[in-house]
């Protein structure tokens, strides 16, 4: 390791690695944005990166501007950092080269910050490596999360022939205006997605309400009251939380077939809350335990009954927890697929997830499938982003389930 701990070794090495990361990223971004042919030039990017890395150690201020200019200039030579295809316009190639060069130069300068041209201490070297890894991490995670969602949205706005012609072209033809949303119009018009959306919403809200009605008293009892069997109950909640749905789905399917509850929203509303009650109970009892018991005792002393104490003291105090639990339960119900898939066959009673599953056939173009996915994803993501604080808390509070 010690041979790397030298300014003129570490700089070019990190520069080379960083340049490869940036060249790949730039190529992917431009491919996905314009549909043109871009690919990272291994040799070109490596040389540019190593050079800029060395420059960043010697003259840190120069690395950025030099990267910008050099990247643009090299773009038209065989040793470009991002190799462009013949159909890409010259100015675009220059732009891509410049962007890549700048995105190599400035960050590498800040990564090598504090690294002298001579031998480095372990501390300095590792700090530089960590800054490199951090930069890489941001790009990596953002890419793996953003790309699928980007593809989902963009595919839903295209049509079949465009998709077959160039699968990389995600550029949007704005001149089509509202025509872009043709898939959505067809889903809502012909495929009944408006009613699926409503069914999903109704089922999810009912699930939340029923779950809370059951879980609040149960959680309070487990958290506060003392009775024989409390530990056993507390453990079996966790245990039930771990029983896989597919194991239960089979008998439920049989029972529902025999009772005629299949193909009914009522049956779904009957079964969803039971899958969420243990989770909700577990999350809520953790929160109830954290509330100071003295307030409740004061209420008891002043002559309130237990139930009144729950209603007038505990519940108002646990509003944040209730919000988290409601959101989480809503998310589970909204995203639930297995039971809906097994129990619903009648297209007039589909939930959204079941409706999307029905779109998965060779006769239905896949932009419809993606439009359906967007319709199902947008409400839950919007809800989540709007109430992210509660959601994050709710997820950490007890949702190890997935």
């Amino acid at each position: 390791m010690s041979m790397f701990r030298h300014g003129y070794v570490a700089g070019p090495l990190l520069g080379l690695l960083w340049a490869l990361v940036i060249a790949t990223t730039t190529a992917v971004v431009f491919s996905f944005a314009t549909g043109g042919a871009y690919r990272p030039g291994g040799v070109g990017a490596g040389l540019l990166g190593a050079g800029l890395g060395a420059l960043a150690v010697a003259m840190p201020r120069l690395a950025g501007p030099v990267g910008l200019i050099l990247g643009a200039l090299l773009a038209v030579t065989p040793v470009a950092a991002v190799v462009t295809g013949p159909d890409v316009a010259l100015w675009t190639a220059l732009l891509v080269g410049g962007v890549a060069g700048a995105a190599i130069g400035w960050p590498i300068a800040s990564m090598m910050q504090g690294c002298r041209p001579g031998p480095l201490t372990r501390h300095e070297f590792e700090a530089a490596v960590i800054r490199f890894l951090t930069g890489f991490g941001y790009i990596f995670f953002t890419a793996i999360v953003a790309i699928p969602f980007y593809v989902m949205v963009m595919t839903s706005l295209k049509n079949q022939s465009e998709l077959i012609q160039n699968p990389l072209d995600f550029s949007i033809d704005l001149s089509k205006g509202w025509g872009l949303f043709r898939s959505y119009a067809e889903l809502f018009g012909q495929f009944n997605f408006g009613s699926y959306l409503w069914t999903s919403f109704l089922v999810s809200v009912l699930t939340v309400i029923i779950t809370l009605i059951f879980a609040i008293p149960g959680a309070y009892a487990v958290a506060r009251l003392r009775f024989a069997g409390r530990a056993a109950i507390s453990r079996s909640i966790l245990l039930i939380y771990m029983v896989p749905m597919i194991v239960l789905a089979l008998p439920i399917y049989i029972a529902f077939s025999m009772l005629g509850l299949r193909n009914s929203i009522f049956g779904i509303v009957l079964i969803y809350p039971v899958t969420t009650i243990p989770v909700a109970l577990y999350m809520l009892q953790g929160y109830f335990r954290g509330l100071p018991a003295e307030i409740e005792e004061a209420g008891l002393m002043d002559g309130l009954s237990r139930l009144k104490v729950i209603w007038q003291i505990t519940l108002p105090l646990s509003m944040p927890a209730l919000a988290s639990v409601s959101l989480y339960v809503f998310m589970i119900a909204w995203n639930e697929f297995l039971l809906a898939f097994m129990l619903l066959d009648d297209p007039s009673k589909f939930t959204l997830t079941r409706g999307i599953a029905a779109l998965n056939s060779s006769e239905i173009p896949r932009q419809h499938l993606m439009a359906g996915s967007v319709i199902a994803t947008v409400p839950i993501l919007a809800l989540f982003l709007g109430l992210e604080r509660f959601m994050t808390k709710g997820l950490t509070a007890g949702s190890v389930k997935g």
Partner: protein, 434 residues
């Protein structure tokens, strides 16, 4: 009464009634207040316990019951006798001859229905000719005792009639009252017919062991991958900078979005014919021809593991981040002064503190990945060497239409689950609050 009060109410944290008050002896048995509290507790828990019993415990028992039953998908509908009634001979006027015909059959091809009885109210205004010897006529009420129907049995009963005035007036049509038909069929689910064939069938051959192996590989690598990526992401976000909240929200997307939406997106993204990933790889010169990501071994298994990691790293990341932010920063300053390098600080200071949450997450995620069904089912349908135990339940029960074998696989899953939960309660204390 005062001496008992602390025992009835919730005891304040950290101090119990016994330490604050020198009570001479704890009361024996349970006093009325305690009994009331226990009654209230059970009352509050009753709805939950009842609901969970109905939907979790009963189905679990049912799974064990079904797993020793020779039951297929078709057996869910018990065999019933079916009848249709029509008037043949096209009578046109009063005095025409016609035939009242009942066609009966057994809906099942192989099961016996015993004691089949047909009852019908004959329409008014028909002159009944000679009726079948098994039938008896009482006024207009006809009762036929038809005995047992073998599987696939068909039978026709014909009664010659002559049209009377009243029937002609009614429009020559049979009234809308369907004939009644009863019969007893044994339902395989409730019969005393047991078999171990389901278990023999699923344990038979190499298939089961390959399924088990795939499940283990999927579970172990999916769990570890999600933990490692979650740890990496948590390290990235464990500092405050502008846009940290946005990134944190963004990184949670895979977990929050509906599984069906993201699974189909992956399928389309990695489509061998027109997927963007293949186009990109070909353009970058990584590969010359399109790769069938979800259709060939062992790539399909790697892809479903990657999907699992992608979808669940947010969860590990949230938990690990929450733990990290509660670590005292003084320690790092002290280590810095002592000359510990950043990697040493991570390895010797952060890791030991994160070990607790990491092991809890590992066990829980392990169990949940083991139980995972939707992801693989949607991505590959269990093809190309990705069939796990959970997918096998569905495959046996619905694709092969053998509910009994599906239940047997479910029993195996449940047994594994019991072992895991035992380990969980054994090794994971309550310290992490999970």
């Amino acid at each position: 009464m005062t001496a008992q009060t602390p025992r009835s109410g919730p005891v304040p944290l950290g101090q119990s009634a016994e330490t604050s008050r020198p009570a001479p002896k704890p009361p024996k048995g349970r006093n009325p207040l305690e009994r009331r509290e226990a009654r209230l507790a059970w009352g509050l828990l009753l709805p939950t316990v009842a609901a969970v019993t109905l939907v979790v415990v009963l189905p679990l028992i049912a799974i064990f019951w079904i797993s020793v039953k020779p039951v297929g998908l078709a057996d869910l509908r018990p065999p019933v006798p079916v009848v249709s009634e029509d008037l043949r001979g096209r009578p046109e006027a009063v005095g025409d001859e016609a035939t009242l015909r009942y066609r009966l059959r057994n809906s099942s091809q192989d099961q016996v229905i015993s004691g089949v009885v047909l009852t019908d109210t004959l329409p008014e205004g028909l002159e009944i000719g000679e009726i079948d010897p098994r039938c008896a006529l009482d006024g207009l009420e006809m009762t036929c005792d038809l005995g047992d129907f073998e599987g696939g049995h068909r039978e026709t009963i014909e009664i010659p009639v002559t049209i009377g005035q009243a029937f002609a007036d009614a429009g020559m049509e049979l009234p809308d009252s369907p004939p009644g038909l009863t019969g007893r069929a044994s339902n395989v689910l409730t019969s005393g017919n047991f078999t171990f064939e389901n278990f023999a069938r699923i344990f038979d051959g190499a298939e089961f062991w390959s399924v088990l192996w795939v499940t283990l590989v999927y579970t172990v690598f999916g769990t570890i991958g999600a933990l490692v990526f979650g740890l990496f992401a948590a390290l990235l976000l464990d500092k405050s900078f502008r846009g940290q909240g946005v990134l944190r929200g963004l990184y949670l997307f895979p977990y929050v979005a509906p599984v069906i939406a993201v699974a189909f997106t992956w399928i389309i993204l990695f489509d061998p014919f027109s997927g963007s990933a293949n186009a990109l790889l070909i353009q970058m010169g990584v590969t010359n021809e399109a790769i069938n990501f979800f259709g060939q071994r062992p790539l399909a298994l790697i892809m479903v593991i990657l999907f699992e990691v992608w979808r669940y790293f947010p969860l590990s990341f949230l938990f690990i981040l929450a733990r990290m932010q509660s670590i005292d920063t003084d320690m790092y300053e002290a280590a810095d002064m002592d000359g510990a390098s950043p990697f040493q600080q991570f390895w010797y200071l952060s890791m030991p503190q994160l070990l607790g949450i990491l092991s809890v997450l590992f066990l829980l995620r392990f169990i949940w990945t083991f139980n995972k069904f939707d992801d693989i089912f949607l991505l590959t349908g269990g093809n190309a060497g990705t069939r796990t135990l959970t997918v096998n339940v569905y495959e046996q029960a619905f694709a092969v239409s053998n509910i009994g074998a599906g239940a047997a696989v479910a029993v195996v899953i449940f047994a594994c689950l019991l072992v895991f939960s035992f380990l969980f309660f054994r090794f994971i204390s309550q310290e992490e609050g999970l």
